[in-house]
């Protein structure tokens, strides 16, 4: 307990409604941090042998799932889902479970560092007062337009604080980016919603309410938008309606983890999703005897099937099933939109939903609720916007770059040459918790706390019917000499004086968060209200956030969608290779999991490979080329090349190879570094009309190297003797 608050005060605050729930308020708002106490001095609520549970928010991705952390004598022992939280309802994904291996990771940045030479592992430890001075100087010695902030997709309170700060000093607004948003093609989804529905919101797909889901490469059971809530939707699709099992069809060139759960998997040629969607619309319109909407008028069913290299009868049959479904739903996936024609594909699929009449209805398409403290949905930067940002850096227009929560040297396509751009930035300051590639190239590393040691909130973008502000609180006291980045920036703002200081008159991070929460006190839509901010904060901590009790999803309208000529065609590909390249997000590692050893040791759901990168290749095609399992091949795209062992994957088109994203770190700690390869090295600098990267729009060559490396995998080595059935 902090000396600022007595135990009696703490219990008064913590016990507000505490009897009804297992999750305790961490500490009263006046006490900033939980502290570890020696065994003999245990606080009276902490009985020997009993655990204390704290509600907080997961930071492994931006979905904003609520967690309840079991702690025991000051240590976090186990992650459990928050049962009351509307996003995940008590459930977690593997990355949420293993977030503790981030907290206790042996490779964390333990102290603020000054790096004399970029890229060198030797940093000189500093004290935090000096760090505050460095940040203050960076803010005051440069023109406001020479200061840039690059932030990740979490946490939102930091983004809000930096937004307020840059506004006060007249600097450019912070830029947010994360590889997941690139792989989800979020910008395209939002742009298509603007075009078709007239609202730039993030669509929300009611998988659980549907009785037929047709997905064009949407990996909704994997890290895509909100994995846990979508998996709950999948459950309800199958068993939510008594005696009626909803069906699920997936169009995708490779059988992903999601496609493996489909009743029917249709391996279409990449880039043909738009023509397929429009052809299905035409078949349904004709079957219903309706006048053909202009959107579908140019579609040619047989041509679409042949372009997609699928059976025309299958297409007609599936379209008929779709047309006859009671509550049909069609979902556009990230890889389908990551093509030169991605925006048309998204428009075609959203228009098909409009034609099926499912907008704003159970099992249909909604617009995600606008989160509290938001006026609208603000998406992270698209790859095109990042390219523009990198261009600004290259010109030398930015004198100091602050980086938090994102690792651009790993998450951006190498062809953008962020590394070169960094050379033209005189000062780079990283707030990384882990020594990632970007932190290694920074002049200063001022490590933020781990998410479980932090205050904060996350505005839930999608995944819940309610409007949700998910709350985070420290569940353990910081293990290392780290400092909350918001605290550091607030201190620097005060030291800088002037407009910044008066715009941010906050003592610390919690006071800043309370200033935001104070606007919500009287919001009667919430499941709790409070007369004053301290009680509100106590409830907010105890329950893990604030959410409304109603359904805040918006029903989109698409009056003119079907009158537009979408003019979709097959996408254009870069390169003249013999294989389509399909990079996909590793279902277990995602973008930031590689430094957690237990995530490395989870078998990939479809291939069971652990600890490394593999290249998926069709076995018949591999036979033709004389390639066996574990043979190392070189993949050459017009933008780069890489080497990795082959996994002969039975469920992938012969003209496609797939490679997971998540490995290939050169830094990021001992469990991640020098392990596998990163497919962003192969990606083009080509964008669709919404500015998303056409990462699935490249064709590559595959060459044998004559070398092999045995992949670690679960399959074939079961049993205590490591018996390999194939040998």
């Amino acid at each position: 307990m902090s000396p600022e608050i007595s135990r009696r005060d703490f219990l008064k605050l913590a016990s507000v409604g505490a009897a009804t729930t297992a999750a305790l308020t961490g500490c009263g708002p006046a006490s900033r941090y939980v502290t570890r106490e020696p065994y003999v001095k245990m606080p009276e609520y902490n009985y020997n042998g009993l655990s204390t549970y704290y509600a907080t928010t997961c930071r492994e991705c931006s979905a904003g799932c609520g967690l309840v952390i079991r702690t025991f004598q000051g240590r976090a022992l186990k992650v459990e889902g928050n049962r009351d939280h509307p996003v995940n309802m008590g459930k977690t994904c593997p990355r949420g479970q293993i977030t503790l291996q981030g907290l206790y990771n042996p490779d964390r940045v333990t102290d603020p560092l000054h790096r004399k030479q970029r890229g060198s592992n030797d940093g000189e430890k500093m004290d935090w007062d000096a760090a505050v001075q460095v940040v203050t100087d960076a803010l005051t010695h440069n023109q406001p337009n020479e200061v840039a902030f690059l932030l990740g997709m979490t946490p939102d309170h930091l983004f809000d604080m930096v937004s307020d700060m840059t506004k006060a000093m007249g600097a450019p607004a912070p830029i947010r980016y994360g590889a997941p948003a690139m792989f989800e093609s979020r910008a395209t989804l939002v742009q298509a919603a603007q075009t078709v529905f007239g609202q730039a919101a993030l669509p929300s797909f009611d998988i659980g309410g549907a009785d037929l889901v047709v997905s064009f490469g949407a990996n909704f059971l994997e890290p895509w938008l909100s994995q846990v809530s979508q998996t709950r939707g999948y459950r309800n699709l199958r068993q939510g309606t008594p005696n009626h099992r909803g069906l699920f069809v997936q169009f995708e060139s490779r059988m992903s983890q999601t496609a493996s759960k489909a009743d029917e998997w249709i391996p279409n040629k990449p880039g043909t999703e738009a023509v397929l969607a429009l052809a299905m619309g035409r078949i349904i319109a004709e079957a219903r005897g309706l006048p053909l909407p202009p959107a579908f008028a140019t579609a040619d069913v047989n041509q679409a099937a042949s372009q997609a290299d699928i059976n025309a009868d299958d297409l007609k049959r599936l379209a008929t099933i779709l047309g006859n479904a009671q509550r049909p739903l069609v979902i556009p996936g990230g890889q389908a939109l990551a093509q030169s024609n991605g925006l048309q594909t998204a428009q075609a699929i959203l228009s098909l939903n409009a034609f099926l009449g499912n907008l704003g209805k159970a099992g249909g398409v909604y617009l995600s609720p606008i989160a509290p403290l938001e006026d609208a949905y603000h998406r992270p930067a698209s790859a095109k916007e990042m390219a523009d940002f990198v261009g600004t850096l290259k010109k030398g227009a930015v004198k100091v770059l602050f980086v938090h929560g994102v690792n651009p040297l790993f998450e951006l396509p190498k062809s953008l040459s962020f590394a070169d751009a960094l050379k033209n930035v005189p000062q780079v300051i990283s707030f990384a918790t882990f020594p990632d590639e970007t932190a290694l190239e920074a002049d200063y590393v001022f490590p933020d706390h781990h998410g479980l040691e932090s205050w904060g909130y996350q505005k839930v973008a999608t995944g819940s019917n309610a409007s949700v502000l998910s709350g985070a609180q420290p569940v353990v006291s910081p293990f290392h000499n780290t400092k909350a980045t918001v605290d550091l920036l607030l201190a620097a703002s005060q030291a800088a004086g002037g407009q910044i200081a008066s715009a941010l008159p906050f003592k610390d991070e919690l006071e800043y968060i309370q200033s935001k929460l104070s606007t919500m006190l009287s919001n009667a839509n919430g499941f709790f209200t409070a007369p004053e901010i301290n009680s509100f904060t106590a409830y907010f901590q105890q329950h893990g956030g604030w959410w409304s009790t109603g359904d805040d999803r918006l029903a989109p309208t698409a009056a003119d969608a079907l009158n537009a000529n979408i003019g979709a065609s097959v996408s254009q590909f870069d390169g003249d290779g013999e294989f389509f390249l399909l990079p996909f997000v590793s279902p277990t590692l995602a973008e930031g999991g590689a430094n957690k050893p237990w995530l490395q040791e989870l078998g990939d759901p479809t291939t069971t490979v652990m600890w490394n990168t593999w290249i998926e290749m069709n076995p018949q095609k591999a036979d033709e080329m004389g390639i066996q399992d574990n043979d190392i091949v070189t993949i050459v795209s017009p933008f780069g090349a890489l080497e990795a062992p082959v996994y002969r994957y039975p469920a992938i088109r012969p003209d496609t190879i797939a490679i997971p994203f998540g490995q290939g770190h050169t830094a990021y700690g001992q469990f991640a570094a020098k392990r596998g390869v990163n497919p962003v090295d192969l990606l083009p600098q080509k964008y669709n009309e919404a500015g998303d990267l056409a990462y699935a729009g490249v064709k590559v060559h595959v060459q044998k190297t004559g070398r092999a490396r045995k992949l670690s995998k679960m399959e074939g080595v079961l049993g205590v003797y490591g018996f390999d059935a194939k040998q």
């Binding site: 022992l77 479970q97 503790l100 206790y104 999948y234 493996s260 293990f479 049993g719």
Partner: protein
């Protein structure tokens, strides 16, 4: 003079007499193969990771793993529904009679298979005899921070409720016995018997698809007993008459049933 050593006696109770106590139902139609159960199990039960090289030898320590199999060739290829595989807590457990030191024994009170770590001498007979291949062996001191210094900080999360195992010891799923015992103690302190839903193992708690149901199979009204009545229900390797405590529900995936 004969000494009565009071050794445990193994009896092969006929299946009709078997009532069982704890059981599980796993719905393969819902399982998405996401590995959340594997992660949750490992975090709950102090299961160590072994690293790339040992994993390559098949020495990884997963107490629960997700299996899937293939049939056919592209484009007619099918994947079987994901099949989470863990100790089936057989009543007639093949692992038990082969243990020379009685480390693999049956619990009379919980009717589960126990592994007594401090009896185990590492003959690995039990794993040899397990038709489900769910027993894992500590080939090295995977939890010894003296040999593996990177573990020092990671060991902060070790649960005090679960033994940390050393080299040469066999281990396996316990149905989260520590959670069962805790729920029993809480119930006893409140002068009641255990209610349905009091015990949730880590895997079932995490499962985002809610594909795993756990509870008392001696209570016909419990959620798990009701779920086990499903017409899709079957036991793994039923022909071996091991009387597993886990009922699987057939799933359909990619058009192939089961």
């Amino acid at each position: 003079m004969a000494n009565d050593l009071q050794l445990p006696v193994f009896t092969n109770t006929s299946e009709q007499e078997v009532s069982g106590k704890w059981g599980m139902v796993i719905d393969q139609d819902l399982c998405t193969g996401c590995q959340a159960c594997v992660a949750a199990c490992s975090m709950e039960n102090n299961v160590p990771f072994v690293g790339e090289e040992d994993a390559n030898y098949g020495r990884s320590m997963h107490w629960i793993r997700i299996e899937r199999f293939w049939s056919g060739t592209f484009p007619e290829v099918k994947m079987t529904p994901y099949q989470p595989m863990l100790c089936q807590q057989c009543h007639n457990a093949p692992c038990e009679p082969v243990c020379p030191v009685f480390a693999s024994v049956h619990s009379a009170s919980e009717d589960t298979n126990l592994q007594v770590y401090n009896r185990c001498v590492g003959t690995r007979y039990c794993a040899n005899n397990c038709p489900y291949q769910v027993r894992v062996f500590n080939w090295r001191d995977y939890t010894d921070a003296r040999a593996r210094p990177w573990l020092t900080s990671l060991q902060n999360q070790l649960s005090p409720d679960v033994t940390v195992r050393r080299r040469g010891v066999m281990e396996k799923c316990t149905f989260c016995i520590q959670r069962i015992h805790q729920a029993e103690q809480v119930a006893a302190s409140e002068n009641r018997s255990i209610a349905d839903g009091d015990v949730t193992p880590a895997c079932a708690q995490a499962c985002p698809a809610d594909a795993i149901v756990f509870g008392r199979i001696d209570d016909p009204n419990s959620r798990v007993s009701q779920a086990a009545l499903n017409a899709r229900g079957y036991h793994q390797l039923d022909e071996l008459r091991t009387t597993p405590r886990i009922t699987y529900l057939h799933g359909a995936s990619n058009g192939s049933n089961g």
